[in-house]
């Protein structure tokens, strides 16, 4: 078990919580940065939050790694501010999000077995 944990954590060493959050917030939609911020806090019921600095630094990294792709804004979009880039999760992004979720599930199961999450299991 010890070796398994190690390999899984090595695989995801680069996956920071912010990146995982963004991948989940994006889902299968196309969103601009501010929408991602809102979406994350809406979808998590306000428990999770990402702030502009981390958001854009992470997005830049994710575009570089191919986890998301950058799109032009849709026709006729009026932002009332600067022109906004849109982002979509790539296939790779989906795979990474899934791998991380698996890893977390394994940990969660452990927690449930120890009765740390009353109401589940």
């Amino acid at each position: 078990m010890a070796s398994g944990t190690t390999s899984s954590s090595e695989e995801h060493r680069q996956l920071k919580p912010a990146i995982y959050s963004i991948l989940l917030a994006l889902g299968d939609g196309e969103m601009h940065g501010y929408r991602i911020m809102k979406s994350l806090s809406d979808k998590s019921g306000g428990r999770e939050r990402i702030l502009p600095g981390t958001l854009y630094a992470s997005l830049a990294r994710m575009v570089e790694n191919g986890m998301v792709e950058e799109l032009d804004p849709p026709e006729g979009e009026v932002s009332g501010g600067p022109q906004r880039r849109y982002y979509r999760r790539t296939e790779l992004g989906r795979v990474v999000a899934r791998a991380e979720s698996e890893r977390l599930r394994a940990l969660l199961e452990l927690a449930v077995a120890q009765d740390l999450l009353p109401g589940i299991g």
Binding site: P52, G53, L55
Partner: protein
Amino acid sequence: VPGQLADRFFALLLKSFPCQQRTRYGPEMLDAFKRERMALVRDQGLWSALRFVVAAYRDVVVAGWSERRSEAGRPERTRLEGLFFGIWKDVKEATRSLARAWAFALVCLASLAIGLGINLAIVTLLWISLSPPPGVEVDGALDVVVTTRGLNLDEPWSFPDFEDVKRADTGMEVTGWVVGLRSLRTEDGADDERVSAMYVSANYFQTLGMGIAPGRAFVPEEDDVVGEPPVVVSFDMWENRLGADPQVVGRSLILNRTVHRVIGVTPRGFSGHAAGQDVDAWIPLWEHPRLNPGSDFRYDRSASWLQVLGRLEEGVESVQVNGALGAVMGGLAEAHPETNEIRGAQAIQYTKQGRGDEDWWIIKKIFLAMEVMALLIVSLNVAGMVLVRSATRERELALRMALGSSRLRLVRYLMTESALLAIIGGLLSLTVGWGSLRLLAWRIGQPFPGGLTLTLAAQSLAWSLVMMILIGLSPALKFSRPEILRALKDDGGVGGRRSSRIHRIATSLQAGVALPLLVITGMVLQSSQLLDEGDYGFQPHGLIVSTLDLAGEGYADEEVAPFMRRLRESVAALPGVESVSVADAVPLDYGRRDHRVSRAGEFEAARIPIQGTRATEGYFETIGTPILSGRGFQSGDVAGSEAVAVITESLAERLWPNQGALGQRASFSFDRRNYTDLTVVGIIGDVVGSSHESASANIFVSQWQNPTQRTNLVVRASSEDAALLSAVRGAILELDDDLTQPQVVTSQTLMDGQKGGIHDLSLFFGGISALMLFLAAIGVYGVVDFAVTNRTREIGVRMAVGASRSRVLILVLMDGVKLAIPGIAGGSLLAVVISQIILASMYDYFGRTAVVWTVLGLSVGAALGVVLLASSIPARRATGVHPIEALKGD
């Protein structure tokens, strides 16, 4: 506006990102920040928005730095970044822990803000009053004064003496000056206004080392009479009365019916080279009425009226100058023994305060003493609170240590708390300092004095930091010592008593430090009360005075008496006027008239100090002082007839005890040189001199026999209403409508002017001592409250064995009093010493010694009262202790 500021700051923080990313994502990041901020304000309120803003700031910096790091290929945090994050964490923790201990934080902040704020206000006031006027080059500038028998008696120069010194090679440049009032009429012929003019030698501005811009200073040729005299105006006059005219240089001004040409404007804020001068215009010395062609003053060495400033020439020392000056004056003494025999001169370092700098020295000392006390109280107060707090949180610290905090980490954590308090307290103190200066300026009715300077504000912040760090350091080191923490685990958390001895001493001192201030306040109040109640030997109500400077208005000596006589007649005819007289002073006008008198034929040592007034017929009736024997002045007491004097009862008793003074001969002089013998023709009731505390031994001589140019019309009227005052003013202008708007005031107004000063002074001291007492009260409260907490068990036991509530109350109250007594005793001693020093040096203000003991008693009472009041809050709490709960506590 705050929102915009928040956005701007965010934009600034975006700079932590590498340039490329900033350009690419910056606008969007700012946009997202802005939208979220606004959404939060709208949906969840200001507090959530504020928390978001702070978090987003931190986030953008962290993310930006991390981007830069990975760009540079450095995965680790740099030491600087590590420090930043460490400090950030400390600050966050410290903020939370201070918010929990809000009472403690509040007391510390209040102490810092009030104490340092007062300190800042005092230092600023001192700084303003000590710094030379703008533009003056202080190095090498000299006050050149006349001495009599080697003593500096505040005497001015005669014109010929000044000219001789100016011509001689003394190694300094000298310039003459004298202040007078002029009337101003601008070209467009508006009403006359009074301006304060200074008559100066052409080299006045050079001697001060000042530049004049726009325009120029006087040039040497302007020391001689020229057709259209030049005038330099003050910045203030240029701005307020000449409409800030950019073309002012070359413009014409009419001063006392003479057209003057404006040649320059002084630097902003310059209104004369000495404190208290409020000069609007500088005009050539030769314009002074005393220097009219053919005037005697130009050649008269007995008439002293000119003041002199000097500047050392390059490479000359003031010792050399004084040597040369001595030689010149020695030569003059030989050549003109009748006037110059005992006269010398001295060049001393220029001070803005100029003459009377000894009074100033005392005021400076009082201010410095107050400053030290304020600092002392604050530091004692805060030190006490910090000690108490450290003691009460020993368990928390022990827990932290047990969880693996290093000692350094713990010290840093504690110090951050101190620093945080210091910074907030320091900033608050700036507000308090600024506010109290505003308040003072408003109260005195003067414009706000220059404001806080950056240096002084920084100094206040630095004080705050140094103080808090020193204070915080000792408990931080002490309580982070491992062996103490081990010991702590063994005893039940009462180890805090270790700190209480230092703390008790500190608090005790606080109660005492406020005492000297209370005593000073009491003395000031007492003297102001004496003013109201005193009987000064004359009737101030219904007394109206108009001071006329006829010399300044261009009157020749021989024209003064006829003018004043005519004026007296026309004012006497006004309805409501009971009597009119002419004199050079009235009681309590705070003029300067200290002279000496002796019995005729006695030598100099026997002369006693008195005040001398020039008066004329009807004067004593007019001021309301009874003539006890003999007569007052009569219209026949003029030049050429027998020289007469009227003296007060107590002077008669001093000069001729039990002999009857009428008909005796007294020797008196206005200039301390030319003594003349006078026959005493009348004795009047004792009447006060120029100030409330001046002795009532006074002499009066005939103004017609001792002419003077500055004189008063003194009127006794049935009322003091404005119509009468303006009727008197009208009567003066009817005789000469070119006179500068004459001031006509009631004698009460003159007295009130002085009393107002005393009231302001008492308000000032009173306010400060009240604040200090307040701080002391906070300190006492802290200690007693702490003691009650520590003694909860003991109190519980006492109550369990039957002590009544009132007994517990008294027990705790006595604790507070016992605490304060050593401090109050020490403070009383200090107060006595300080009040004696003040009494000795400021006799004019605090005339009566006896009151000090009463005032001291009251002050001690007040201090004890405050201590009791402060102890009563924890005492009430102690009576609420439930025995069972208290015993269960551990």
